[in-house]
């Protein structure tokens, strides 16, 4: 069923393969939670499924959630983790190329998680590595495990079938929204693209999505679609995209999620790949609609699923 040796791009996945990862994540979620001592009502359970296996985290760029959640996923399944957390303190600082680093590190571990500033770095790394490479972000390119955890969050909310999702913010440059939109097209979702004129979803991506079976609608105003959507997927609008700071402030204000806005649709859930800055009012964090912190937690079971599949441990935890 699952033939991937490396996890590089969302495009490499069929719907069946995504479904398989998501159902595997559901099986493993109980091992992702902390054990609670005492009366046996604890939600977490221990596992040594990946005992004796070593994961190497190679991060050439900063990361909090992705690096920690891979590390947690590996350790909760009994595996071990080695880290390259600072390129200054390694051969990279001496000018070693990525290909050589991969050839070296792949001799020390069973799986490599790579984040690199160049687009396509993971695809290239895969051709030099005898162990699986997992792309944890390549420049402005792909970040497939983020997409999988987004899908998992939507699935856990029971919304994956017949989904009506609004992708909000920077749809032109945002890598997460491109991969997510592509994956959602496999589920025939209805996609609302809500962005300032200058940051609209590129035409070629829109036509790809329509061809794949998604229904695509565009708007520049969240209020227009808030009642229509069951998920708002919010992304950050970066200041540096606007030459004029005043224009940025105006635009960013228009796309901010507030409690007043949510009143228009009480059941809507709000997701965000994080880090968020000020695109969601802090008051929203405490509402029943916010899912972004749960979403970051789901990174653990999803990455557990991927690790267990790639390392050939597909039995239960």
């Amino acid at each position: 069923m699952f033939t991937k040796r490396h996890i590089i791009s969302t495009r490499d996945f069929s719907k069946e393969e995504i479904d398989y990862v998501l159902s595997r994540a559901e099986e493993l979620e109980i091992y992702a939670r902390a054990e609670e001592p005492g009366d046996g009502k604890g939600r977490g359970r221990k596992s040594d499924l990946l005992k004796g296996k070593i994961l190497a985290n190679l991060f050439y760029e900063p990361s909090t959630r992705t690096r920690f959640s891979f590390e947690t996923a590996m350790k909760r399944l009994g595996g071990e983790v080695i880290n390259l957390s600072s390129t200054e303190a390694s051969s990279v600082a001496k000018g070693e190329n990525l290909a050589d680093t991969i050839r070296t590190v792949s001799g020390y571990c069973d799986v490599i998680v790579l984040r690199h500033p160049h687009e396509g770095a993971s695809r290239m790394a895969a051709s030099f590595s005898p162990v699986p490479i997992i792309n944890a972000g390549d420049g402005a390119g792909q970040h497939p495990t983020q997409t999988l955890l987004d899908l998992y969050t939507i699935k856990r909310e029971g919304l994956l079938d017949g989904l009506r999702i609004a992708l909000i913010g920077d749809l032109k440059y945002g890598r997460t929204v491109h991969s997510l939109a592509y994956a959602l097209s496999l589920y025939k979702a209805t996609l609302f693209f809500v962005s300032p004129e200058a940051l609209r979803m590129p035409d070629e991506i829109k036509s790809d999505l329509k061809e794949a079976g998604a229904e695509v609608l565009e708007s520049t105003d969240i209020k227009e679609i808030i009642k229509e959507a069951n998920v708002l997927y919010v992304t950050r609008i970066q200041k540096e995209r606007f030459p004029d700071p005043a224009e940025y402030r105006k635009v960013a204000g228009t796309y901010r999620i507030t409690t007043d806005l949510i009143e228009e649709n009480e059941d809507v859930i709000i997701m965000h790949p994080l880090p968020k800055v000020d695109e969601i009012d802090v008051e929203v964090d405490g509402t029943k609609n916010a899912r972004y912190f749960k979403q970051t937690f789901y990174g653990v079971p999803v990455r557990m699923a991927i690790l267990s599949i790639l390392l050939g441990k597909e039995e239960m935890g």
């Binding site: 000018g95 190329n97 990525l98 160049h118 687009e119 396509g120 770095a121 695809r123 290239m124 390549d138």
Partner: protein
């Protein structure tokens, strides 16, 4: 008045006709024909054509170009036709077909693509996603390239 031929017919070799006007020099580049090769080569640029308005022609003497060599030129000259000449007779005539994947020849237009990183031992690679209009997806960064002629290595 006698019609004057701009380039005389060749006795043996390959004639690449119907090249998109202005692309003849890129064709030579793709075929790796340069001043250091022995072959006698004639190039005609922007000649009138009934079918195409303007076209380029390249003639390579005493060398029979193989289909997998010439198919690469479909990247920039999708209407090119290949004529193989033996003893002044056309013995083979075929079109060019875009290969499914292309290594080398063009470089990725994305300056931040790993295939453009100087230190890495990697050659550019593209997957053909559409033949008409020709479109190629970078195997590494997935950027789509539409005008290959602007990105010849």
């Amino acid at each position: 008045m006698k019609k004057e031929l701009k380039v005389v017919p060749i006795k043996n070799g390959t004639v690449i006709d119907h090249i998109t006007a202005g692309q003849a020099l890129n064709v030579l580049k793709i075929l790796e024909i340069n001043g250091r090769t022995d072959a006698v080569v004639s190039v005609v640029i922007n000649v009138r054509s009934k079918k195409m308005g303007r076209k380029d022609i390249v003639k390579v003497e005493d060398r029979e170009l193989k289909p997998d060599e010439v198919d690469k030129i479909a990247l920039i000259a999708p209407n090119a036709t290949i004529n193989i000449i033996h003893d002044s007779e056309v013995t083979g005539k075929h079109k060019v077909y875009l290969p499914k994947s292309i290594e080398g020849i063009i470089r990725c237009a994305n300056p931040n693509c790993i295939s453009n990183a100087e230190k890495e031992p990697v050659m550019s690679k593209f997957i053909t996603v559409s033949e008409n209009p020709p479109q190629f997806r970078c195997f590494y960064c997935e950027r789509i390239i539409e005008d290959a002629s602007r990105n010849i290595c």
